[in-house]
Amino acid sequence: MASRSLAILVIDENRIRASIIEAGLRETGHDKITVVHDITGIARTIAEVNPDVIVIDLENPNRDMLENMFQLSRAVKRPIAMFVDRSDRASIEAAVEAGVSAYVVDGLKQERVKPILDMAISRFNAFSRLARELEEVRSELENRKLIERAKGILMKSRGLSEEAAYALLRKTAMNQNRRIADIAQSLVTAAGLLGPGEDQ
């Protein structure tokens, strides 16, 4: 490929997500990548890196500041003027949906930019999926721990077997139309309030 490789600046406070994007960009042959987690001093970074494409997450509250900087273009040598090609509505929607935004140097050909944005979108989506799954696993684990503790309290205070303790929790949950983990949580809280030594 004859054309010069693009300088890409990734701004993301989330370090894990930023490194996932960086890895994706490197895999697709981009090597001029700068990753920034903190917006402080961003004007200098932009002047140094002179990026062709800036990728930023939509959670970042500093987008207004960045856009203003591009418009003043004192810090930036070339005007960074557009999101992606305005005619490409689908990819704009996909980007906003995924929570990522991109600024592109005016005049850069869309076929050079689109793969970068597409990659960022898919990595952002993959990251959200991962984060969601992790959260599910984490809360599942916490629920299990809670249920274990609640069972322990019942076994100790009412002399029940493990199976009977679990059956009691399950029955109570069904009767009250609540989740077992919620019943376990109430029991653990109540036990904590009622007496020292029960559970702690």
Partner: protein, 411 residues
């Protein structure tokens, strides 16, 4: 009954999201058969983008923002209209304790008077030039914001050139008080509760307020995606009625504490209730436990506070020209004028018996006192609506206004 209209509105955590919050939380939207969702955002850029891609149909918007969108001044702008305003006033200028001490030494008083504060600031600026100190740095929330234009207007009217004698940067509202404390800025202009935040945290003083720089001045509007408005006129009308009823509720003194508690909640501004009260009562704690009463600090209803005046749109346009954001010509002027849609407001609210102004534009600064105005049916009073230094803005004489301001800036 037909299925409810679903509307998703973006908003920023600011006190003047009150009308939208009350429309949702107090059931005004629901009784109009609207399923209204409010989504808190982290930047105005997000609000603009999500309106453009259709995630939001409407949004809490900086009053100049729909104009900037239609003039093509921002990336990814979609055609946006403003059929309703979300109140008047609500901003203040906060300075660091250090800068306030310097201003006090030059005659600034804790009375929020823009003229006295501005003269003192000019003396401080001159002193800093003599002693070789750097420029004062002020923050505003967005280049196309009432904050940016009123701060610049105030500075310029006090003979401080905002670009030559100071530096104006952009910061998100919730970060302002911290930036002030850390010394990375010397002052800022922002909506509430982010001025009160600095006072409560002891990191700044309120020097003056929007309601004193330009009384009865516009701040936020309901920005509506134009295409959605055209295809869903009934849903839009229902929303305007709901917001108007919310404005009535917000304006009732008896509801202040409940409104403050609502706004302070975790889904909205997520800050202490105490921080909401100054803007709602007009008793502004300027610092050091000193309270100054500004009756019309934030006006949710009175003085036609939800009416989208064309003269407001045009004034913002003149300031865009003044500060080099756009070139003045008749087609740009028409775009600005057509962005605000009092026709939709009238057509919708007339049926409710709402007091409507007789005209769609007025000479800003003409009313020195509260004045009853001819309106269809019900009674309505407007004003006072003056600029602090006494200037007038006549929307029929835009060229002259722009020319005069251009001369002033270079003098």
């Amino acid at each position: 009954m037909s299925r409810p209209h679903q509307i998703t509105a973006g908003f920023m955590p600011l006190l003047d999201s009150a009308l939208l919050v009350a429309a949702k939380e107090k059931g005004f939207a629901e009784s109009e058969a609207l399923d209204l969702s409010l989504v808190r955002e982290t930047s105005w850029a997000n609000i603009r983008d999500r309106l453009a891609v259709g995630h939001f149909q409407v949004a809490h918007m900086l009053a100049p923002m729909p104009i900037a969108c239609n003039l093509g001044l921002t990336p990814l702008a979609s055609r946006t209209i403003a059929p309703m305003a979300l109140g008047l006033g609500g901003n203040a200028v906060t300075v660091s304790n250090d800068l306030w001490a310097q201003m006090e030494a030059h005659g600034a008083r804790p009375d929020l008077d823009p003229l006295a504060a501005g003269s003192a600031l000019r003396a401080v600026v001159a002193e800093r030039v003599r002693s070789g100190h750097g420029l004062l740095r002020f923050a505003v929330v967005h280049p196309h914001s009432g904050h940016n234009y009123e701060l610049r207007y105030w500075l310029a009217a006090c003979d401080i050139d905002p670009d030559r004698d100071s530096e104006i940067v952009i910061l998100p509202p919730p970060l302002m008080a911290d930036a002030l404390r850390s010394g990375s800025i010397d002052g800022y202009c922002v909506g509430e509760p982010w001025n009160t935040a600095a006072v409560m945290l002891g990191s700044g003083r309120i020097a003056t307020v929007k309601a004193a720089i330009w009384r009865s001045s516009p701040e936020k509007v309901l920005g509506v995606q134009a295409q959605w408005a055209e295809t869903n006129p009934d849903a839009l009308a229902a929303l305007l009625r709901a917001i108007y009823r919310a404005a009535l509720w917000c304006a009732d003194r008896a509801n202040r504490e409940e409104l403050a508690a609502l706004l302070a909640g975790p889904r909205y501004i997520d800050r202490p209730v105490d921080w909401m009260m100054p803007a709602l009562t007009g008793d502004i704690c300027v610092g050091n436990r000193e309270i100054v009463s500004i009756q019309d600090f934030f006006v949710p209803l009175a003085k036609a506070a939800t009416f989208p005046w064309k003269s407001h749109a045009l004034w913002f346009y003149t300031q865009m020209v003044r500060w080099g954001q756009i070139r003045h010509d008749k087609s740009n002027e028409a775009i600005a004028r057509d962005t605000y849609r009092p026709d939709i407001y009238r057509a919708t609210l007339e049926a409710l018996g709402v007091a409507l102004p007789g005209a769609n534009a007025k000479v800003e600064g003409a009313l020195k006192t509260e004045t009853p105005v001819g309106s269809a049916g019900a009674s309505l009073t407007l004003g006072p609506d003056g600029f602090f230094e006494g200037a007038l803005f006549d929307p029929d004489r835009i060229d002259a206004y722009i020319a005069a301001q251009a001369r002033r800036k270079t003098s």
